[in-house]
């Protein structure tokens, strides 16, 4: 069979602005019902929406990062429909003049590269929330109504559920890097709706396009797309009827069911929003925004492998969060040892960050000081054991490692005479180990090294202790 999947994706992301899209109500969650509302976001007659410049900037920034063109003229439209999640019976959205359009993103799944064309990124307002009661009534509140919402729409270029998931993972990372959205799906800050059908290009045939809703996680999106591809194949093979429809993903039963059939009532009667004047983003502003686009996570990941010689895994983990990646680079720059910097940042540092609920930007430990700590280990001023021991204190106090080591008298002992005397005592105290070593049991050295470490509270330079021990024992 020559039918292949053709999947497109619509992703909505709430933007991280302080105020709503068209009014100055706060974007705040968990407030009392209808307490972050005003005449504009509840659609009172005579109120006048005014667009939030920051939200427009965020959409342009995202569009540029996705290689889109920026419109030099675009308008908001009214999307009319009857549903009480918007008080005014229409949503302010964009129609055939999106803010940015015709972009692309290059990705890979299991080393197989693929490209997705981005049709558009546009701006609209989020809707309110409904609670359906069992008594035949519903409660509605509009705190979320009017929160800036960005829509990123791809062309139907995905050919597998794995590609869809990879795109979502990368898009989420991108949105976080750009600082435009938390992109948390479980909080509803990022939502996605795939469209799925099968095409046979040679035969000029295609199955009707199905839109899937109710997807609350990347896994749900992946599984629903995969299910829908299989279902449509099954329908083809069994001559079962298919139609253009919206289907709902049922997580517990792991299948999609019909939600509604597309019909002529799906006519949103779009027309230009008369209360909002057109946007013509001026060139200097767009250039300014372009300059604010940081190195993108995928490019940075590749650079970490090439420039620092890091394993792919490290590069991926470090670039997941921009602050972490920035922190790592500052540590590596100070100590000149990228792999150690990576180990420390991914290991002890991340561990303490999570434990204390801080971020790299808010924690007291400056990356330069972690870099210096690594340097002290590499110069054998302190052992890595001691470094690990004092790290929690460093993290908490943010002092320089040298200061802490001096305060606590923790500098590694690398004085040969001083160590020589302790090594002599170790030999004296371990006659059996000496005999074992001399009869060829290399491991027996450990007992004597352990003695020295104990005597010096772990401050002896282990390499030097080994060396002195061997010298003395071969005398």
């Amino acid at each position: 069979m020559a039918f292949r999947p053709m999947v497109g994706l619509e992703v909505h992301a709430q933007l991280l602005t302080a105020s709503k899209m068209f009014c100055s109500c706060p974007v705040k969650f968990g407030s009392e019902p209808n307490s972050n509302c005003c005449p504009v976001c509840t659609g009172m007659p005579g109120s006048l929406p005014v667009p939030n410049r920051k939200a427009v900037e965020f959409v342009i920034r995202t569009g540029l990062a996705l290689d889109c063109k920026v419109s030099d003229y675009c308008r908001f439209y009214r999307k009319n429909y009857f549903y009480p999640d918007l008080a005014k019976n229409f949503q302010i959205s964009q129609y055939d003049e999106p803010l940015t359009y015709e972009g692309r993103i290059d990705l890979a799944v299991n080393g197989e590269p693929f490209s997705i064309r981005v049709r558009r990124t546009h701006l609209e307002e989020d809707t309110g929330k409904n609670i359906h009661l069992s008594d035949g009534r519903s409660l509605v509140e509009y705190n979320r109504c009017g929160v800036p919402l960005m829509e990123v729409v791809t062309e139907p270029d995905f050919t597998s559920a794995d590609q869809v998931r990879e795109y979502l993972v990368q898009l989420r990372r991108l949105l976080r890097y750009l600082g435009v959205s938390t992109a948390n799906m479980d909080e509803g800050a990022m939502r996605c709706e795939p469209t799925v059908n099968l095409v046979d290009e040679a035969a000029g045939q295609a199955t009707p396009i199905v839109e899937v809703k109710n997807l609350a996680s990347f896994k749900a999106v992946h599984d629903a797309v995969s299910y829908e591809i299989d279902r449509q194949h099954w329908c083809l093979e069994n001559d079962a009827e298919m139609q253009q429809e919206t289907r709902r993903w049922n997580e517990t039963e792991a299948k999609t069911t019909v939600m509604r059939i597309k019909e002529s009532a799906d006519d949103y009667m779009y027309f230009p929003e008369p209360d909002l004047v057109p946007l013509t983003p001026e060139r200097e502003w767009v250039e300014e925004i372009a300059e604010s686009v940081p190195e993108l996570p995928l490019a940075r990941e590749r650079r970490f492998v090439e420039e620092y010689g890091l394993p792919q895994y490290d590069a991926e983990v470090l670039t997941e969060d921009k602050q972490v990646a920035d922190y790592f680079e500052a540590v590596a720059a100070t100590c000149g040892d990228a792999k150690s910097a990576s180990n420390w940042v991914m290991g002890d540092f991340t561990h303490l960050l999570h434990e204390s609920g801080q971020t790299p930007d808010t924690c007291k430990l400056q990356p330069e000081n972690l870099g210096k700590l690594i340097k002290l280990i590499n110069e054998t001023t302190i052992s890595s054991k001691i470094a690990k021991d004092i790290f929690p204190t460093l993290f908490e106090q943010g002092t320089t490692p040298r200061q802490l080591i001096e305060e606590q008298g923790l500098a590694q002992i690398s004085d040969e005479d001083e160590l020589g005397a302790i090594v002599d005592a170790a030999i004296e105290a371990n006659p059996k180990a000496v005999a074992d070593y001399q009869s060829g049991k290399e491991k027996a050295l450990g007992a004597m090294v352990g003695y020295v470490m104990k005597e010096t509270r772990g401050q002896a330079n282990p390499g030097l202790v080994n060396q002195i021990l061997r010298e003395k024992l071969s005398e």
Binding site: S24, N52, P84, L133, R137, V140
Partner: protein, 98 residues
């Protein structure tokens, strides 16, 4: 200018959630056609080289800065609602569409 048909009136009425009787549909059809006559007059104007115009005032790029201002007390927001409870609007249950 093509005539507005009864089917078109029915479609628009459905979109507007208006239940019209057969007489009303016919009356609205006639009225809409009279309105369309005015557009026919406008159609005679030479609009070569003029883009579609949605605003009568030549103004673009009006923004507000991303600053928080005062919202209304929740009680005020729901005060005109036919039914509300604990500052929620209360409405007859509607089908979950999107």
């Amino acid at each position: 200018m093509p005539e507005v048909t009864l089917d078109e009136v029915r479609h628009v009425a459905e979109l507007a959630r208006m239940a019209l009787s057969d007489e009303e549909l016919e009356r609205v059809r006639r009225e809409l056609n009279r309105i369309m006559d005015y557009f026919a007059e406008l159609q005679q104007l030479d609009t070569e080289g003029i883009g579609d115009t949605s605003h009568a005032i030549p103004m673009t790029d009006v923004y507000r800065q991303d600053e928080i201002g005062d919202s209304l007390p929740a009680a005020k927001i729901v005060q005109n609602a036919p039914d509300s409870i604990e500052n929620f609007f209360r409405v007859p249950t509607f089908m979950e569409e999107e």
